[in-house]
């Protein structure tokens, strides 16, 4: 079997679908890596749900304003044209459908677009929701980046989520280390698959039926040697 994509390669691939002029919210973990890989010729505003529209690059180590942080609590900068506001205004923006795309991590995505990404049912730990439910319910499009399978080979693309739902029927596209899949009325449709992986192997790694797009292509991502995170 050919090499699965790395975290950064998955983020890179997801970033290629961000349109010029898009307003985008990136979840913690792999999604936020995508900000580094958006094509340079596209003018994109990254929203951070704690109150920024237009997150800029990370400042040099030790630089930056400690009172200016993103949703991952990292000290950040502002890009040209940015605005800052409070959390109620920020979630009004999110819930109101003004953010074009949110890219989120996930534990599971179901063939009907259900998303489970907030409660991994870890024993002895308290619950953590954060902004995921609002982003999933509010953004115009919800894209997911996640590994195709769990560490012990379990499926993450499933008929029905077994983990508690974040939102029902809202995922439009999934980027995994093996494939890019759209979620439509007929369930998962494979748009891209990594070179050398057979369709049967992909189906075996998936716990829901797959269809393959007529123009299903190789999933390409450049060799990213330096982690830009």
């Amino acid at each position: 079997m050919t090499a699965a994509l790395s975290r950064d390669q998955m983020a890179w691939r997801a970033a290629q679908d961000l349109a010029d002029g898009a307003y985008v919210n990136l979840g913690l973990g792999m999604p936020v890596l995508a900000a580094s890989y958006a094509p340079d010729d596209r003018d994109i505003f990254f929203q951070s749900e704690n109150g920024i529209l237009g997150v800029g690059p990370l400042p040099a180590e030790g630089q930056g304003d400690r009172e200016l942080v993103d949703a991952g609590s990292r000290v950040v900068t502002l890009r040209d044209g940015a605005a800052v506001f409070d959390s109620a205004a920020s979630f009004a923006m999110i819930r109101g459908g003004h953010v074009d795309i949110t890219i989120l991590g996930a534990f599971q995505v179901a063939a009907n677009g259900d998303l489970a990404n907030w409660d991994a049912q870890v024993p002895n730990k308290g619950p953590l929701i954060g902004g995921a439910m609002d982003l999933a319910a509010g953004a115009k499009a919800v894209h997911v980046i996640m590994r195709h399978q769990t560490g012990d080979g379990g499926a993450r693309l499933v008929e029905a989520c077994t983990y508690p739902l974040t939102a029902a029927g809202i995922v439009k596209r999934v980027y995994t280390d093996l494939a890019v899949l759209d979620v439509g009325p007929d369930g998962f449709m494979v748009r891209e698959i990594i070179p050398g992986l057979s369709r049967d192997d992909l189906a075996a790694a998936t716990a829901a039926p797959l269809t393959f797009a007529d123009d299903c292509r190789d999933l390409f991502a450049p060799d990213i040697s330096v982690n830009k995170d």
């Binding site: 951070s48 749900e49 704690n50 109150g51 920024i52 304003d65 400690r66 009172e67 200016l68 942080v69 993103d70 949703a71 991952g72 609590s73 990292r74 800052v84 506001f85 409070d86 959390s87 109620a88 920020s90 979630f91 009004a92 999110i94 819930r95 409660d119 870890v122 002895n124 730990k125 308290g126 619950p127 953590l128 929701i129 954060g130 902004g131 995921a132 439910m133 609002d134 319910a137 509010g138 508690p164 739902l165 974040t166 939102a167 029902a168 029927g169």
Partner: protein, 224 residues
């Protein structure tokens, strides 16, 4: 003559009693009223309700609040400590010593905003169709299932801003505002610690939150 400046922490927190509810601002390390938070445990109160985005930040700020079992109830979007072993507050919750309302972050912000804006309840699509909506009133609007959410209010709101003037007008720096702006509107008494109390009145274009929402302002340096 309006003068909302106070000189010390005990005046800032005067009137806070056992059983009271407290909203506390902060996201990441921005806008956390750490001086006020650290003044809570020594007051010897019990059965406090904390309304805060992420409980971990409070525990990092002053672990004695849970160690001394001062907290009875928490309303939050994130009730999780770092690492795999449970934090003290997670253990107290599991033992039933602390009760918990877990709320999606946007709903959390909107419920507080509603509490300050005289809106007793609203419908939101967030959490519809999830376990959080079970047993709750749900209703279709425009073909979309929504959940009824009620306003949140508190006895005290504690927040941090960069600057204040004697009228209580606030200027926030960076993303310091986060939940604080709404919390200030939704509490009976709003107390703000600030880096600087301006000698001069803040000009209107620097007033991020009007002083009508602020009862007491205290100068106190940022704690890490």
């Amino acid at each position: 003559m309006i003068d909302k400046r106070v000189d010390d922490l005990s005046t800032a927190l005067r009137g806070l009693q056992s059983g009271a509810s407290l909203m506390i601002s902060g996201f990441g390390n921005a806008g956390i009223p750490a001086n006020l938070v650290r003044a809570l445990a020594p007051m010897g109160l019990s059965d406090l309700t904390l309304i805060i985005n992420a409980i971990r930040r409070i525990d990092e700020c002053d672990a004695t609040l849970f160690d001394q079992k001062r907290i009875g109830h928490v309303v939050t979007t994130a009730f999780r400590g770092p690492g795999r072993t449970p934090a003290n507050f997670e253990e107290q919750w599991q033992r039933g010593e602390v009760t918990l309302d877990i709320v999606p972050q946007g709903t959390f912000a909107e419920r507080i905003r509603a509490g300050g804006a005289g809106i007793p309840a609203f419908y939101t699509p967030t959490a519809a169709g999830t376990s959080l909506a079970e047993g709750r009133e749900q209703r279709l609007f425009g073909g979309r299932m929504c959940v009824l959410e009620e306003a949140l209010r508190a006895d005290f709101a504690l927040l941090r801003a960069q600057k204040a003037d004697r009228y209580g007008n606030l200027f926030f720096r960076g993303t310091q505002s986060n939940f604080g702006s709404a919390m200030a509107t939704a509490a009976d008494i709003t107390v703000v610690e600030v880096e600087e109390i301006s000698e001069h009145t803040l000009p209107p274009d620097q007033v991020h939150l009007p002083g009508i929402y602020v009862d007491r302002v205290l100068q106190a340096p940022r704690l890490d």
